[in-house]
């Protein structure tokens, strides 16, 4: 069954990729990011105590930028792994989706593409703060929801039959 192969193999590969990303992040980036945010906030408020408005604003700007990247890196790790688990579980339940193999394969491919690209769009937001990466993430998330909705409808169809 091609749809199952796409979802199970693709899901497990995406899961390993997401865990690898989390491992890299925990070892090389997370502690530094958390420390960076703490130091920026403390520096900003210390500058405020010394009535240094310019120093305060510069520190708060650093905090904003570090937190922007930190939040996204945590989201990327969580969403890659979470979506990978949804892919794998749907792969196991493919017999319960009452469509032809061709439709199931299209839904599976759409789901996998959305699951890979959605967190990638979030990652691109750390590089480019413009609208482009947000559109990429939004479209990919829509693709995941549409494919998931299609599979749910297929399960209802199979039950009705």
């Amino acid at each position: 069954m091609k749809a199952r192969k796409i979802l199970v193999v693709g899901g497990l590969a995406l899961l390993i990729w997401g865990m690898g990303y989390g491992f890299w992040y925990a070892v090389f980036a997370e502690h530094q990011a958390l420390e960076g945010m703490g130091v920026s906030l403390a520096t900003g408020f210390a500058a405020a105590a010394q009535r240094d408005a310019a120093g305060m604003r510069a520190a708060m700007e650093r905090y904003k930028e570090t937190k922007y990247v930190y939040d996204r890196q945590v989201d990327i790790h969580g969403h890659w792994i979470g979506l990978a688990m949804v892919l794998m579980i749907l792969g196991m339940a493919m017999e319960r989706v009452g469509y032809s193999e061709r439709v199931k394969t299209i839904l599976a491919a759409g789901m996998l593409a959305g699951a890979v690209v959605f967190p990638l769009g979030v990652y691109l937001q750390t590089v480019d703060h413009g609208a482009g990466p947000r559109v990429v993430a939004g479209v990919a998330a829509g693709l995941v929801i549409a494919a998931m909705g299609g599979m749910a409808a297929g399960m209802l169809k199979e039950r009705a039959e």
């Binding site: 199970v8 193999v9 925990a26 210390a46 305060m56 949804v86 579980i89 039950r159």
Partner: protein, 365 residues
């Protein structure tokens, strides 16, 4: 009878599937109990301490005391680390439990020998326990005797646990790849996937609905509130610091109130989104294992409904916490408890089944 024998053969004593099923449900139950205890005894108290220390830092800045500002932020860092490591323990324990159950379902497709599968299951479970325990200890062990500048021993053990899980998952992927790449291997017949009883159907349908609900809520939150909340986070903190620099106590007070409200809004939305999807995944996973739950059909259906009721109650009540406060919070915790109780009942049912299998095998000898 033939189906019974097939199911029994796939669930052999100390086999990879049995280790992963029992270990996976055990991890999920332990992670959920930890999460419920954390929500009741730590979460709100910790949030109050963080708010108090932040207010202390703002007041110190207002008074022009830079030394006190740094002391207060040191305390904030400690409180946040305490909270963050406990959330991570809860999330990783449950996530690894889900993954164990998924690998258990996939066993017939993993084309490697049973002994290697069993070794992979043991490596996986060892990593799945080591990582959350290591993360939990980060706050208490700190940098004591650490050979590294930024990472302590507890983090090193947690990362090593993560590596074990990655290795076991990679081994399983290799086995899956061998199965799908080998054209001579026929379609896999597995009784777990073929079985469709009443409780399994309820859990499967409920699980898919919960995942869709969680996806829809996440999309709505991302479209309507996410970027606004993100911008407000730094704007409010900057306003707080600017108010302190300008010796404007009113502005600092307002900013502190707004910041607390904002953190509450973000937390409930993220928690509702994540829990809805996770409980959906859990419902589908336990739907697969209903043939192993040795309870009467009526009880299996009851526990399935209890699990789904708790799975809906928790995210909905978490969302209502901002409006109804502790009442909704208490109901959310009760929802979590219902899920735990239903899951433990299913776990006991599976243990009864393993006992029957092992007794029958012993009698045969």
């Amino acid at each position: 009878m033939a189906t019974e024998k097939a199911v029994a053969g796939e669930f052999a004593a100390m086999g990879a599937r049995r280790l992963l099923v029992l270990g996976g449900i055990g991890l999920i139950v332990a992670g959920m109990i930890f999460g419920d205890l954390f929500a009741i005894f730590v979460l709100h108290q910790n949030a109050a301490r963080v708010g108090g220390a932040l207010a202390g830092a703002a007041e110190a800045a207002l008074a022009g005391d830079a030394g006190a500002v740094l002391r207060e932020f040191g305390a904030v860092g400690g409180f946040l680390e305490n909270r963050g490591t406990k959330v991570d323990t809860h999330v990783h324990m449950i996530g690894f439990g889900y993954l164990a159950l998924m690998l258990a379902v996939m066993q017939p497709w993993i084309a490697i020998c049973e002994m290697t599968k069993k070794r992979l299951a043991v490596v996986f479970l060892a990593g799945a326990v080591t990582l959350p325990v290591g993360v939990f200890l980060i706050h208490y062990v700190g940098m004591a005797y650490s050979p590294l500048a930024a990472i302590g021993w507890a983090s090193i053990f947690a990362d090593a646990g993560g590596l074990l899980v990655i290795l076991a998952a990679a081994g399983s992927l290799w086995g899956l790849w061998k199965h799908f790449a080998d054209a001579t291997r026929g379609a896999v017949e597995d009784s777990l996937l073929a079985a469709r009883d009443g409780a399994g159907r309820v859990l499967m349908a409920g699980g898919v609905a919960l995942i869709l609900m969680g996806f829809a809520h996440g999309a709505w939150y991302a479209a309507v509130d996410l970027y606004r909340h993100e911008a407000a986070d730094s704007t409010i903190l900057t306003g707080m610091a600017a108010g302190a620099a300008a010796r404007d106590g009113g502005a600092v007070e307002r900013a502190l109130g707004e910041y607390g409200q904002l953190q509450g809004e973000k937390a409930v939305n993220i928690a509702a989104h994540a829990h809805s999807i996770e409980f959906g995944l859990l419902a589908i996973l336990v739907a697969f294992f209903q043939p192993y739950v040795r309870l009467r059909d009526a009880w299996r259906r009851r526990w399935a409904w209890v699990l789904l009721a708790g799975s809906v109650m928790l995210p909905v009540c978490v969302l209502l916490e901002l409006r109804f406060g502790l009442l909704a919070g208490g109901l959310a915790d009760t929802g979590g408890l219902l899920v735990i109780v239903a899951l433990m009942a299913m776990w006991v049912g599976i243990l009864r089944y393993t006992g029957e299998l092992d007794a029958a095998a012993g009698g045969g000898r």
